[in-house]
Structures are given as structure tokens and as C-alpha cells.
């Protein structure tokens, strides 16, 4: 990270805000893990621990007119996009007050007002959607770009390659954003990808690619800013391979036995984005111990409020099970009485 020159008050506040967001994400995921163990959360649940700089750096560079499609490891993305932790935790709890009305769960978060167009749980499936959204932006003559976020292992599925081809052919402003934590569940990149340098995978589609340190929030932000600008003005899709270290198993229920314990311990020590960034802020006199401690306290309070909000939210009603089935009502769609008969 480069040393900042003289900073305005706003710039200082922004740099501190990144730390706040990363800390909020860290604590959100740790509390999520805790709530999962307490059986407040069901299903599959994948955490962003270790990816805080990757995510905050991305969101810092995006603009309000941009859209984001992600995979199922997305709590941090929607949080950093500005969605409050309360409705987010409420979704994980399956409540009506959740961001998807309790219908989606951990892997299917959504907030159209923030341009957060969903977490998707079929690996690689979200990538063509992002290309189509970018096509729509250009069709409508609107500004903005679309982020197709994916994990490293998603670069092995056909949908990724079809999407690269379409995005380049149709000049769609898409950032193919690879959150590269080194593992697809338990397989290493080298186990599953004949080209382990993921940023090179656009070469035969003439799609430019780069790699960036995903534990460095400012490096990620600056790379996205530069590539976003080019995507928007020139319609040039791009691959950004953002490398970080996954702190825990693939999901909450994964004991992570396939990784060497020493490797994990070392990774957490040397590749902790929060540790890096707090040291950097202090070294540049942008934060001190007292401020960092105050942040911890503030985030603790916000997280407790989020858990309380989630707990207080009503469960969706059984008679609302068909609500949202169809946007345009037509005759003979199932009615609540059908549900009652089937539930008898």
C-alpha cells in the first residue's frame, strides 16, 4: 500500500470507513457462525472470513448505478454494498423482515434498491445473468457496469466461458470478479484447473485479465476503479483475479480437515486483511488504539442490534406460501386452499 500524501478530512474518513466495514463484516460472519451453532440459522451457510478487503475494496470502487451478481458466499458483499445488518441477519433467520422476505436464505440474498441482484447457489450460474444485465444497460443507454462475482472454482464451468464470449462479442461492461480463496470446497486450484493463473483464462476470448492482492483493500479498490472505468466507457469486459485466504472451512459445517492445521494458522496470521489494514492506518496516523477500540465497541452494539432485529422479526405466514409465485396473475394458478388441502 502506498503512503498517502496529505489527505482531506473526507479522504481520511473514507479510509477509516473501509476499516469499519471490514470489521463489521468480520463480526457479522463470526456472529453468524455463532447463530448457526445455536440453530437460529439453517441450510448451507458460507462465510466471507478472510475476504474482507476483497469485498470492501470492490464496493468502494463501484458506483450506485452498478449492479452486482454473486455466488452463494455473499453476506459480506451485500453488507458492504450498504444493506443494514439487521434485515440481513433476519434473512438468515428465515424471517419475513429479511432482505428476501425469508424466502431465500443465506445463499439467496437480494436488494434491488442497492443494485444487489442476488446470491446464486448453482456454481457459475450467475455469470450469464450478469452479462445479460450489462447488455440491458447498454441497450437502454444507461451508465454503469455489472459485476459477475464468482469463486475460483467457478472458472472451470462452461457458463463462465460462454459468458466471456458473449460479453466480448456484445461489448458488455462486465467485471468478472474472481474471489480467489484458493479452494473450491476441498480441491485446490491446481487440482481442478489446468491453467491455475485464473486471470489468464480470458485470453482466447480477448478479454483482458489481471491479478490483485485480495488482502489489500486499497489495491483491490484501485484495480476495480481503473477497470470499471474502462468497462463503462469502452464496453471492455475484464477478469480480475482477487487472491485471499479462506479462514475457515468451505461452509460453517465443514471441519476443514483436508487443510494442514499449520497452513491455516499461518494463513490467518499473515493474510488477515484487518490486521494488515489496522497496522497501515496506525502507521500513517489515520487511526490510533483508542479509535480502533471504539470501532470494536460500535460494531459490537450494531451486531447485537442486528441479532435482536432478526429475533424480533415475524415468521412468514403459511397462508402466504404462494405469495410471489407469479408477478402476473392468470387463471388456475394454485390458491391457498390448494396448499391447505395438500398440507392436510
Amino acid at each position: 500500500m502506498d503512503k498517502p500524501t496529505t489527505l482531506t478530512k473526507e479522504a481520511t474518513a473514507e479510509l477509516r470507513h473501509y476499516y469499519y466495514q471490514m470489521l463489521l463484516m468480520r463480526r457479522f460472519e463470526e456472529r453468524t457462525h455463532e447463530m448457526y451453532v445455536k440453530a437460529k440459522i439453517g441450510g448451507y451457510c458460507h462465510l466471507n472470513l478472510g475476504e474482507e478487503a476483497t469485498i470492501v475494496g470492490l464496493m468502494a470502487a463501484l458506483k450506485p448505478e452498478d449492479y452486482i451478481f454473486t455466488n452463494y458466499r455473499e453476506h459480506g458483499y451485500i453488507l458492504a454494498r450498504g444493506v443494514a445488518p439487521g434485515p440481513l441477519m433476519a434473512e438468515l433467520f428465515g424471517r419475513e423482515t429479511g432482505v428476501s422476505g425469508g424466502r431465500g436464505g443465506s445463499m439467496h440474498l437480494f436488494d434491488v434498491a442497492k443494485g444487489f441482484m442476488g446470491g446464486y447457489a448453482i456454481v457459475g450460474g450467475q455469470i450469464p445473468l450478469a452479462v445479460g444485465a450489462a447488455y440491458a444497460l447498454r441497450y437502454q443507454g444507461k451508465p454503469g457496469v455489472v459485476v459477475a462475482q464468482m469463486g475460483d472454482a467457478s472458472t472451470n464451468i462452461g457458463a463462465f466461458y460462454e459468458s466471456l464470449n458473449l460479453a466480448k462479442l456484445w461489448r458488455c461492461p462486465v467485471i468478472f470478479f474472481i474471489a480467489n480463496n484458493g479452494y473450491g470446497m476441498g480441491s485446490t486450484i491446481e487440482d481442478s484447473s489446468s491453467e491455475p493463473d485464473l486471470w489468464k483464462k480470458g485470453a482466447s476470448f480477448r478479454v483482458h485479465g489481471e491479478q490483485v492482492d485480495g488482502t489489500d483493500v486499497l489495491a483491490v479498490r484501485d484495480a476495480v476503479r481503473r477497470l470499471r472505468e474502462r468497462a463503462e466507457t469502452e464496453g471492455e469486459p475484464v477478469i480480475l483475479d482477487v487472491v485471499s485466504f479462506r479462514f475457515r472451512g468451505h461452509s460453517v459445517i465443514d471441519a476443514d480437515r483436508y487443510r494442514d492445521a499449520d497452513e491455516v494458522r499461518k494463513g490467518r496470521e499473515t493474510q488477515d486483511p484487518l490486521r494488515h489494514y489496522s497496522a497501515w492506518l496506525q502507521a500513517h496516523e489515520l487511526a490510533d488504539e483508542a479509535w480502533l477500540k471504539a470501532m470494536v465497541e460500535q460494531v459490537e452494539q450494531e451486531m447485537q442490534a442486528a441479532v435482536d432485529f432478526a429475533n424480533a422479526g415475524p415468521h412468514p405466514k403459511i397462508e402466504d406460501i404462494y405469495t410471489y409465485m407469479y408477478a402476473s396473475p392468470v387463471p388456475n394458478i394454485p390458491a391457498p386452499e390448494t396448499a391447505r388441502r395438500l398440507l392436510d
Partner: protein, 323 residues
């Protein structure tokens, strides 16, 4: 009002809808320069340009997914899949995304998407090019599936599908493209989810859709000469299924034959037969008869192909079994 073909009905409707709403666009393989494998999109590239009539690479998963994403941002894509056989490589996008996005995300965005594709077998196209997969989509909540049998219904249902805010799978038939029927000039729609009694009768109800409706109507006419009165219920929509119209007809005739081109086990006819026994058991004077495809990959050889799909004769035989 003059007779036009099923193909002309589709082609003119696409042109009218492109002209009516600037958010409507067409996507598909060879639909522009080549003007469509079955010439449904003939002339539309010239009229509306490549932004509205988009030739895609052979990448069904990619461009169907892209159409869904574009629909989420307010466009109204009408995608052509060259034949339903090729839809299998896009089924993940349709079943896991198009059908679920409105519900799974709590109603925040709509997916106003139409996927048009011809289904069924004709002309010795053999095992991989003669299949009927509409039941796979009719099975999936969140989709709407329609299958018109006449030029009138093709036009009215295509209009309804394009103007609908949900994903609609629009099933066509190669064997129907050149059939003719009267189509009015005015802007009408045929509502999704509503079947039609295409011919009234009193002895037996035949429930059919798409090409099988055309065959059922021929059979009804033929049997009328023998004094057998066949009522033909044309489903028109497979999802939602218009159960009340089917049941009302069976309660009147007390006998039912259900017919579809797809494979027998777990096919459309199984759903229809189950519906009839659930809701009209006490009105039945005979077991429901099912006429469906033989459970083999469709063979190429002409004689084998002819017996593998339901025919007018197999429908007549089924009717005679219960009269």
C-alpha cells in the same frame, strides 16, 4: 379475416410486439441473417436491426442466462431455441433462475421472458431431434407453459406471453407451422391458463394440446360419421393447467381419453389422468385411457418412427376401447 399459417401468425406477432414496445427484443441462433431455422423470424432483422434481433452464438446456457439477466433489468427478451432438444443445455438457467427469481428474492424483480421452441417429432429426425420436453417445464412452479394448436391461439398466446411479467415457455410444433386458420386483425390475446373446448361432443372427452389437438379434431370429425360424438378439450396452457374445464367436460361425457406425444411414464397424460380420477371419479363410466409415446429413443427407420409416436389411429383405438 383471412386464413394464415401458424408460422405467419407467429412472425407477424413478433413484428407487432417489437413495434409496440421498445423493450421487446429477440435473441437466438440464426434468427437474424439466416432468418430463422424455420423462418419464424423472417424479415425482422431488416425491419428492426441487430440491436433488437440478436443473433447469438451456439451457447444456449449463456444466452438464455443473459436473457434472464436482461429481463431482470426491464427488457422483455423473446428467445428462440431452435428445437426443444437443445434446451437441455440451458435448463439450469430456466429451472434454477428464471422460475425462481421472483419468488426466491421476495418479489423484488420480475423476469418477463419468453422462450419459444418447437417440440415433438416429425420427418425422421431421429432420437435426439424428436423429443417432447414440455412436461419438464410444466413440472416447474414459477414457469408458465403454453402450447397453441391453431394460428389463432398461436397469435393470441404469443401476445399474452410477451406482455406477461413471468417467464413463459412457448411450445410450438414443426408439424403445425404450415397449418392454416383464421386470425382476426384486431389486437386480441388468448389468456394463459385457460383451456378451450375446441369441439363439443357427448360420448367421450379427448384432452390434448398442440399437434395432438389437430389430430384429435380430425379424429372427432371422422368418428362423427359413425355417430360417435367426441368432445375435444384443447389445453392451450400446460402450466397453469385449467383443471375446471377438463373436469366439466368429463362430467358431461363420462369418458376420457388423454393424449400427448411425450413418453408414457411420468408424462403429461399421467397428470391429466390423475386429475380426472381425483376430481371426477364418480362420473367416470370407464377407466381413463392414455395415449402417449412409446418409451424408446425415437428410431430413425420410417416404420419404427411411425409407431413410436401417437397417431390418429392410436387415438381412435383408445376411444373405441371405452365406448
Amino acid at each position: 379475416m383471412k386464413p394464415i399459417t401458424y408460422r405467419q401468425a407467429l412472425n407477424s406477432t413478433l413484428g407487432e410486439e417489437l413495434a409496440r414496445d421498445s423493450n421487446v427484443l429477440l435473441m437466438g441462433e440464426e434468427i437474424g441473417v439466416f432468418q430463422g431455422s424455420y423462418r419464424i423470424t423472417e424479415g425482422l432483422l431488416d425491419r428492426f436491426g441487430p440491436k433488437r434481433v440478436v443473433d447469438t452464438p451456439i451457447a444456449e446456457e449463456g444466452f438464455v442466462g443473459a436473457a434472464i439477466g436482461a429481463a431482470m433489468l426491464g427488457l422483455r427478451p423473446v428467445v428462440e431455441i431452435m428445437t426443444i432438444n437443445f434446451i437441455l443445455v440451458a435448463i439450469d438457467q430456466i429451472v434454477n433462475h428464471a422460475s425462481k427469481i421472483h419468488y426466491m428474492f421476495g418479489g423484488q424483480v420480475r423476469v418477463p421472458l419468453v422462450i419459444r421452441t418447437p417440440s415433438g417429432g416429425t420427418g425422421q429426425l431421429a432420437a435426439t431431434h424428436s423429443q417432447s420436453f414440455e412436461n419438464w417445464f410444466a413440472y416447474c412452479p414459477g414457469l408458465k407453459v403454453v402450447a397453441p394448436a391453431t394460428p389463432y391461439d398461436a397469435k393470441g398466446l404469443l401476445r399474452a406471453a410477451i406482455r406477461d411479467d413471468d417467464p413463459v415457455i412457448f411450445i410450438e410444433s414443426l408439424a403445425l407451422y404450415d397449418t392454416k386458420g383464421e386470425v382476426p386483425d384486431e389486437d386480441y390475446v388468448v389468456p394463459i391458463g385457460v383451456a378451450e373446448v375446441k369441439r363439443e361432443g357427448s360420448d367421450v372427452t379427448v384432452v390434448a394440446y398442440s399437434r395432438m389437438t389437430a389430430i384429435a379434431l380430425q379424429v372427432a370429425q371422422q368418428l362423427a360419421q359413425e355417430g360417435i360424438s367426441v368432445e375435444v378439450v384443447d389445453l392451450r396452457s400446460l402450466r397453469p393447467l385449467d383443471r375446471p374445464t377438463i373436469i366439466a367436460s368429463v362430467k358431461k361425457t363420462n369418458r376420457a381419453v388423454v393424449v400427448a406425444e411425450d413418453w408414457y411414464s411420468y408424462g403429461i397424460t399421467a397428470e391429466l389422468a390423475a386429475t380426472i380420477q381425483e376430481e371426477a371419479f364418480d362420473y367416470l363410466d370407464a377407466p381413463v385411457q392414455r395415449v402417449a409415446g412409446l418409451e424408446v429413443p425415437l428410431p430413425y427407420a420410417k416404420d419404427l418412427a411411425a409407431v413410436a409416436k401417437p397417431s390418429a389411429q392410436s387415438l381412435i383405438n383408445a376411444i373405441r376401447r371405452i365406448l
